[in-house]
């Protein structure tokens, strides 16, 4: 129970709201985490920088078996996205992306890193922290495969960042491009260079910066259909209010309706024409 105004504001910040806060991600390591996995976690942490927490210590848990420690961490740090990295002989270089609903695990996907190039291995100038990335998914696997669809949804949620009403056109610097090819998933991160073209829209050149991953899909844990439905339910108050008595016809003309009371035409006040006035006779 809050005793000060400050703590009360802090708790109110964490309450469920109509327009939610930006989803925060928590990144932590498992019992065995090798150099690759740790570096991968650090790179993704820098991609998600202000809205992420990185835990330094190793946590000996297995997300697919025991979800209680995940839920505990999520409640403590108010994070609804998580990334767990581990390494063992059976599953080398393992990353588990996941998200929570109401501090319970909604879905998790395990990806194995086949090849990884870190941020510091690519030597060029990078982009500032916290830029909202352009997300591009390529490959028909994302359309046809059910697991791939869920992965797409999860990755959008993970890397999306804050929802903004307007964006500075020049500031669109970061692109995350994810391709599904031949059973593998390639994640590449580029810096966008806007070059002059004849017209208003610039020509794009890309320069590879950030981490590049070659993933293979391993396990996946999905929630029940009911839980998905509850999670996707949007509050009614957010729906845009329809303006009544306004309609549009086929040509795009806007029509409005006015409702008037019954007017007594004999008592209407119009312009007086003095000459037409009935003279008192």
């Amino acid at each position: 129970k809050p005793k000060t105004k400050r703590s009360k504001r802090f708790l109110q910040g964490r309450e469920p709201k109509l327009n939610e806060n930006i989803k925060k991600a928590m990144l932590f390591k498992g019992g065995n985490a090798n150099q690759t996995v740790t570096q991968a976690l650090k790179d993704i942490y820098s991609l998600k920088k202000p809205n992420a927490v990185m835990y330094k210590k190793k946590n000996i848990t297995r997300p697919f078996e025991d979800q209680s420690s995940l839920e505990f961490f999520s409640k403590k740090s108010d994070c609804s996205l998580f990334l767990f990295g581990s390494h063992n002989k059976k599953r080398p270089n393992n990353l588990v992306f996941g998200r929570m609903f109401d501090f319970h695990v909604l879905d998790m996907i395990e990806l194995g890193i086949e090849k990884f190039v870190s941020l510091k291995d690519i030597k060029n100038s990078k982009i500032p922290e916290g830029t909202k990335p352009l997300l591009i998914f390529a490959g028909d696997a994302f359309e046809t495969g059910n697991e791939h669809k869920k992965l797409k949804n999860l990755l959008i949620d993970f890397f999306r960042g804050p929802t903004v009403p307007c964006v500075r056109l020049v500031g669109l610097e970061h692109v995350l491009h994810i391709t599904a090819l031949e059973g593998k998933i390639y994640l590449r991160s580029y810096k966008v260079l806007l070059k002059k073209s004849g017209c208003r829209t610039p020509r794009i050149e890309l320069e590879e910066i950030g981490p590049s991953f070659d993933f293979t899909m391993r396990m996946i844990h999905l929630a029940s259909v009911d839980l998905y439905k509850t999670a996707h339910r949007q509050p009614k108050a957010l729906k845009p209010k329809e303006k009544k008595n306004i309609s549009h016809d086929v040509f795009g003309m806007k029509y409005g309706r006015l409702h008037m009371q019954k007017q007594d035409l004999f008592k209407l006040h119009t312009r007086k024409m003095k000459g037409l006035k009935r003279k008192a006779e």
Binding site: L18, A138, D157, L181, R203, E205
Partner: protein
């Protein structure tokens, strides 16, 4: 000649136009799906696997990414723009991708009694200014709160109205009225909360809670007993219930103007005590108290330190100077053995000398 040159110029211009458009146009078999609100694009076209294997993997991915990014940027540049502080900004539409929420939809707050009444009557909330002009102090003050304007409890001069009793304290009357209003507001606030959470609150008396302590239960019994027409005077005791003694005022004050002789006697007795050479403290009592405290401390320490297994409890039993009350377990035997304690004096250190009333 001139006609040819004009044609040439026009043809050249056309070619240039086409080239420029080529630089930003990308040919795709299927159109991409866009979600500008999320800065998201989805390319459903199956990627060219042969080219992928031919070229360097990264090169292929980069060219694919370039094409897709170009298309997404084209889409974003079509959005309406506005100028915000010397920066050109595009207004994004609502995101269309359905993503799950982080936390469940909040439940609406239960409305208070006033809110329901206002809804019924159609009373709208009127927005009020925060500051009000106070003519007395000639400055803007808060409408309510600390140092508010027109605070009637803070007036230094109150005219006694003709209909009022001249001996009545008008200042305290106003303060009392304010306290009553505050208490009433608090009561109504708590009732609103109770109604919202559907907790039943009795009209009079204490609300039942789980896990009541002994004092709370005692208070509840007392309130129930005295809630009769004759204020509990003829209410018998429950079996094993003891009438509580020393109820009522804890301090007695003599009236200001009354029997002066009693007051005079008191003052003289006080002077006599101050004169007398007897010590003010009851020494035996003090010494016994100190010894008891020491024994208790030593017993506590011996219990804390890892002594021999069986002996632990015995030490603690012996540690008490006066074996009062129950001591469970192994301490119970030795504690019970010291039953000579009590008024006889547990250890009979010093003969008890009663010094007389102070």
């Amino acid at each position: 000649m001139a006609a040819c040159s004009i044609e040439d110029v026009l043809a050249k211009a056309e070619r240039e136009e086409v080239e420029k458009l080529k630089s930003i146009s990308v040919h795709k078999e299927q159109e991409l799906e866009f979600d500008p609100g999320n800065l998201f694009a989805f390319d459903k076209n199956p990627p060219n696997i042969r080219e992928f294997r031919k070229l360097n993997k990264d090169e292929f991915l980069r060219s694919l990414a370039r094409d897709n990014t170009q298309l997404l940027i084209n889409e974003l540049w079509k959005l309406p723009t506005e100028r915000v502080e010397e920066v050109i900004v595009a207004k994004l539409p609502e995101p269309t991708t359905r993503l799950p929420r982080e936390k469940p939809v909040p439940k609406p707050r239960p409305s208070t009694k006033w809110e329901e009444f206002a809804k019924l009557k159609g009373i709208q909330k009127k927005k009020k200014t925060n500051l009000v002009w106070d003519d007395v102090h000639k400055e803007w003050k808060r409408r309510w709160g600390y140092k508010r304007a027109n605070d009637d409890t803070k007036e230094w001069l109150i005219e006694v109205p003709e209909t009022a009793d001249p001996n009545e304290d008008q200042f305290s009357k106003r303060i009392k009225a304010k306290k009553e209003r505050v208490a009433k507001n608090e009561l109504n606030r708590l009732r609103n909360i109770a109604r919202g959470q559907k907790i039943k609150v009795p009209g009079v008396g204490l609300a039942p809670t789980e896990q009541q302590s002994k004092t709370e239960l005692g208070k509840a019994i007392h309130v129930a007993k005295h809630s009769t027409a004759s204020v509990g005077k003829f209410q018998g005791n429950l079996p094993k219930e003891k009438t509580p003694k020393n109820m009522g005022k804890k301090r007695k004050f003599e009236p200001l103007i009354g029997d002066f002789s009693a007051e005079k006697q008191k003052q003289l007795d006080l002077l006599n005590i101050m004169d007398s050479k007897k010590p003010r403290i009851d020494i035996t009592k003090a010494v016994n108290k100190q010894m008891r405290e020491e024994d208790r401390q030593s017993g506590f320490q011996k219990r804390k330190s890892p002594g021999k297994k069986g002996r632990k409890g015995n030490f603690s039993g012996k540690g008490k100077a006066k074996g009062k009350g129950k001591k469970g377990g192994p301490g119970g035997g030795s504690g019970g053995g010291n039953s000579k304690g009590g008024p006889g004096g547990g250890k009979n250190r010093k003969p008890r000398m009663k010094q007389g009333k102070r």
